[in-house]
Each structure stands twice: as C-alpha cells, then as structure tokens.
C-alpha cells in the first residue's frame, strides 16, 4: 500500500464517518468501511457511494438512517446507495455513477443518472461522487452484504397486498390503516414495503400505525426494486415475509409500489409464484376510471381485488361510480382502522384457508 492510497483511505474513513448516511444505508455496519474506490464504471445497484453535495435541486433534504430528514447544504458529505428509480411524479433514472456528477434520485438515498423527470420537478440535487466505499477486501460495499439472510417464504402467514393505480393513489395510507386496524384487533402485524425506492416515509407510516414489525426491500439488500430481476424481487419479498414470521407476526400487510402497469409491479402480479404469496389484495385508486382500468388490468392475472380503497374513498361521487362499475365496494382508511372492518378484510382473504383448516 503506497502513501497516496493510505492517505485516500484515511481521508475516506474520516469523511465517511462525518457524512450524512441516507436511509437506504441503514443496515450498513460502518466498521466495515475500509477505503474508497474511484472505479465508478464498476458501480452496481446497491453499492455505497460517498459524495459531496454540489448543487441543491429538487431534494433539499436527505432522509437519515435515524429516521429524520436533514437539510442539505452544498459541500455536505453524504453516503447514498447507487440505484435506479421509477417515480411517475418525480424522476426516472438508472444505477450509473458519472464521476463528474451524479443525480440524487430519491431523498431516501438513491444515487444514479437521471433519464426522465416529471415536468413539475426541478432538476435533481447534484452529488459529486468521491468514491465507492470499500471493505477490507478492497471491493465495493453493497447493501446486499448487510441484508437479512435469504429465506424461503413462510407457510401459514396470511398476507394482504396493497396495490394501486399509481404513485400517490393512497396505498401507503391504506396499508398503514389496515395494519392499525389489525393491530387493534389484537394481532401482531408486519407491515412491509415490498417494492419501490428506498425511503423512510412508508416504514415510518407503518410504525406510526402501530405495526409491530416494519420492513422494506432495503432490508433485503435493494436500494430500489426498479430494474431488478423479478426473481430477486420475489426472493426479497419472501425473505421479508420469513422475517415477519420469525418475529411471530400473525399477518403481513405488503404494499407494492407504483401502479399495476409499472414494469416490476406488472411482472410481479403476472407471475404465479409471486402472486401466490398473497391471500388477497386491496386496490387503491384516485377516481372511478382508474378503478375500472385497474380491475381490468388485473383480471388477466386472475387477480380480483377484495375492495377498492385510497383517495377514491374521499370522493363520494367517484366512489359511487366505481362501486357501480366494478361491483367492488370502497373501504375508507377510517374503516380500515376499525378492528372489526380490518378483520373482515383479513377473513375474506383467508376464508379458503380457514375452510381448509
């Protein structure tokens, strides 16, 4: 090891120690950091990137590991995970690190290269990458090294899926409300974000609702599930469900990100193995037409939601139209928080299991 490498490693360790570590890195053992690599062309999704904030853009805060947002300032040292993002209301980007400047694709701590953005969005916050954090073996540290051990899907754990028409259709609110209702009914509840982009908003919402165990795909080693192979996404979901079962949960509520037409979500719902993880689904949507469209899009996969929920439940006229057009009833978040209603959702989903027991 020559002097310059020693200096770089020493600098990296000091800077990393002082940096703002993003939510996506929450499972990382900082003691595993031994150095820095500038081989950005080798970066893959999940690799830990140390960088400095060059310019504040759309994301003015970074979500910290401790669960609070931290205002960003130019010059801040940050540690994020290299990753892709799919967010129709925000950014679409890929897991590539440009040495001249990378894009903060998500406040939860995803760094990559912007490809598309919603017209309402400002440019992403720009990060100058200083290097990939490396371990004692000199290889880039990746989230998957710190993930829960892979595990097979547990048997006998009821799972209710929350799917939706798209981003901001009310899925998280519905998932948290259902978790709350089931908790009040006396069950030990796991609330899981099965797919999406790493961010603490969802797991915080689940925790606030009283879920006993909260998990997301970052616990399975993924900064984002966008552009991840389906088998890896399904294996991650199975691992999270196994963790819920191992922690004695009676039921799991699993939110699937984005809309049913989004690539990974559509693939997951189309895949019989993935679909078989779920006993039932609630479908969140903002209006009647998205209710009709979603139900139609799900039908070829043999999925018929138990009920509609989400933003539509706040719009009485749209609710009436949707119920008439789909034959499905709409359940509000207030109803889902009621233990009797939440248990009715669970029982409707697991009725075939109960009959067979």
């Amino acid at each position: 090891m020559d002097a310059s490498t020693t200096l770089t490693a020493s600098f990296a360790l000091s800077l990393a120690d002082a940096a703002k570590w993003a939510f996506t890195t929450r499972r990382v053992d900082h003691a595993a950091v031994h150095g820095l690599s500038v081989a950005f062309d080798t970066a893959r999704t999940g690799d830990l990137v140390l960088g400095r904030v060059e310019r504040i853009g759309s994301h003015k805060n970074i979500q910290l590991v401790c669960g609070r947002p931290s205002a960003l300032y130019p010059g801040d040292a940050v540690v994020l995970a290299c990753g892709a993002r799919y967010a129709a209301d925000q950014f679409e980007g890929v897991a590539e690190i440009d040495p001249d400047g990378a894009d903060m694709l998500a406040g939860g701590g995803v760094l990559g290269r912007l490809r598309e953005k919603n017209g309402r969005m400002a440019a992403p916050t720009r990060i100058i990458p200083l290097g990939l954090l490396t371990g004692a073996d000199g290889r880039a540290l990746n989230l998957d090294r710190f993930a829960l051990p892979r595990a097979l899907r547990p048997r006998g754990l009821p799972v209710i899926g929350l799917i939706g028409a798209g981003m901001n259709s009310g899925k998280t609110d519905a998932a948290a409300s259902l978790a709350h209702g089931l908790m009040r009914a006396g069950l030990r509840v796991a609330a899981i974000k099965g797919t999406g982009t790493g961010a603490f908003g969802d797991v915080n919402a689940y925790a606030d609702a009283g879920a006993h165990v909260t998990l997301d795909f970052t616990d399975a080693g993924m900064a984002s599930t966008y552009r991840e192979p389906l088998p890896r996404v399904v294996a991650g979901l199975d691992t999270l469900l196994a963790e819920a079962a191992a922690r004695d949960c009676d039921v799991a509520v699993v939110e699937i990100a984005d809309g049913v037409l989004q690539r990974e979500t559509a693939a997951l719902l189309a895949d019989p193995t993935a679909r078989s993880a779920f006993d039932g689904f609630l479908y969140a949507c903002p209006d009647a037409l998205s209710a009709v469209g979603g139900v139609a899009a799900l039908a070829p996969h043999g999925v018929r939601p138990q009920a509609l929920t989400g933003l539509i439940s706040r719009a009485p006229l749209a609710l009436t139209e949707a119920e008439a057009a789909t034959g499905l009833r709409v359940i509000s978040r207030e109803a889902l928080r009621d233990p009797a209603a939440a248990m009715a959702v669970l029982r409707a989903a697991t009725a075939p299991l109960a009959a067979a027991a």
Binding site: G186, I331, P339, A340, M343, A344
Partner: protein
C-alpha cells in the same frame, strides 16, 4: 377480601381470601371503569375472565361472585362497568356506541399496565351482558378463548336475518362481518346457560312476532334455540362440531345470584380452569 366502591369507600369485608378486589376508574369519557380481582398468587399464563354485567349494572356483584374461585385458580377477573349515562344500549355492542372498542381499549390498557398478560380472555356475560358478550365473541373471536353466556334476553343468530337478529343485512355491515368471523367463533369453547325457571315470557325481554318466531318467547327457549343454531351452522358449513354446551341451571329464575348458586360460577370458571 375488601370491596372498594367506585367512590372509594369500603363496601363489605369478607374472610381473608387469596385475592384483592379494586376499582379502576375510567380513563376519559370513552373509557370503562372496572372492578379487578387479582389473585395473591397469580398462575402464570392463566387466562383472565372478562365478566360483563346485565342492565342492572351489577359489575361489583359479578366481581365478587367470581372472586374466590378465580383467585383459587390464580386467575384475574375484570368486571367493567358500562355506566348508564354513557352506555345505554351497550348490550347491542356496536350501536348506538361501540362497546366492543371500549372493551378492547380497556383490555389493552390492562395489558400495558401489567394487570393481565397478552393473549385472549375468557368472556362471561349475564343477561344484557350475555348479549354484549356473545356479540363481542362473534365479531372478535380472535380476542376470546372461551365464552360463557347466561340468560341473554335475545341473541344474534348465525342466520340470514338482518343484524342484530342475524348475520344478514348490508354486504359490508355488522352481520356480514360476524358471518366472516363465524368459522373462528365456532372454534371457541362456548357455554350457554339459563335459569331453569327463566322459562316464561318476561316484559323486560324484546318481543315481537318476528323475533319470537326466530328465537322463542322465553330466555330458556331462546338460549336453547341459539345453541342449536350454532351446531346447525357448523354442520351446514361443513365445519367441525362446535364445542358448545347448553346448561339449564336448576331452581334459578332470571336472577344472577340464584344462577351463581346453581352452578354458573363453576360452569364459567371450573370448566375453563
């Protein structure tokens, strides 16, 4: 033991027994106060008994009646008070107010304060309390291990009659929710009882041609028919025969003390030990 009335004044004393009885004041307007019987020597893992009074609101009487035997078994007894000014109609469970949520909140408070452990409770109700108790168990069977319901004036049957008489009505209504929970409910141990002399129509009972035709005209007949309806419901659905018993308490009319003397305490606690 010593009974402390809600206002904090000792009401009666009895020979020293291995338990303490205390009044726990309600928390907030929505909360329920309750009598708590705690054994001096709790048995680890023993299931607590939640005992619900009738419309005479004799919660202290229930606590006292179960105290000695429950304490001997190392079990805690909780006897909530549905105060009349706030809880008229509590026996209907979900209307006009949510008695079920109040009971669940009370149990959660008691768990958090260490009075009872996690897990299910055994549930008892007498008269109006039996109405409340059986409806609670039908709606929330996951909260209940065993149900003992004595001398309900009328019941919610597992049939198509509109709720609260049956499980019919709106697709997302209370009846439908109870219908969804019925397989779980029918897996509980259920003890139905009634005084042997409680066999005539009572002006205090709800009576009309439809309910009389569905349930009968006396508490004894209604309890018998409800027991039979549970067994039939299980058979119709291809479920295992429910563990439901029907007991006529000899020499007792519609009187909790007489029913207790005729074996109700043993029926409720003894078979659940």
């Amino acid at each position: 033991m010593t009974l402390i009335r809600p206002e904090g004044r000792p009401a009666e004393s009895a020979a020293a027994e291995p338990c303490a009885i205390a009044w726990r004041a309600p928390t907030g307007r929505e909360g329920l106060g309750c009598w708590i019987v705690q054994p001096k020597t709790p048995r680890p893992g023993a299931t607590p008994l939640l005992a619900i009074h009738g419309i005479n609101r004799g919660a202290d009487g229930l606590a006292g009646a179960f105290a000695a035997q429950a304490a001997a078994e190392g079990r805690t007894v909780i006897a909530p008070l549905f105060a009349e000014e706030n809880w008229r109609g509590y026996q209907r469970l979900v209307a006009p107010r949510r008695a079920d949520l109040a009971l669940m909140a009370l149990l959660e408070d008691l768990r958090l304060s260490g009075v009872i452990g996690a897990g299910r409770v055994d549930l008892f109700g007498y008269s109006g309390g039996a109405q409340c108790a059986h409806r609670f168990a039908m709606l929330h069977p996951q909260q209940v291990r065993r149900l003992s319901a004595c001398a309900a004036g009328w019941w919610t049957f597992p049939d198509a009659a509109a709720f609260p008489y049956g499980h019919g009505g709106a697709a997302d209504g209370w009846g439908a929710r109870m219908a969804a929970a019925l397989p779980e409910f029918l897996r509980l141990d259920i003890a139905v009882s009634v005084g042997g002399d409680d066999d005539r129509p009572d002006p205090a009972m709800r009576s009309a041609p439809a309910i009389d035709a569905q349930q009968g005209r006396s508490r004894l007949e209604r309890a018998r028919r409800w027991t039979g309806a549970l067994i039939a419901a299980a058979a119709t659905r291809g479920l295992p025969a429910p563990k439901v018993s029907f007991t006529v308490l000899p020499g007792a009319g519609h009187d909790f003390t007489a029913c207790a003397r005729a074996g109700l305490v043993g029926l409720t606690l003894g078979r659940f030990a």
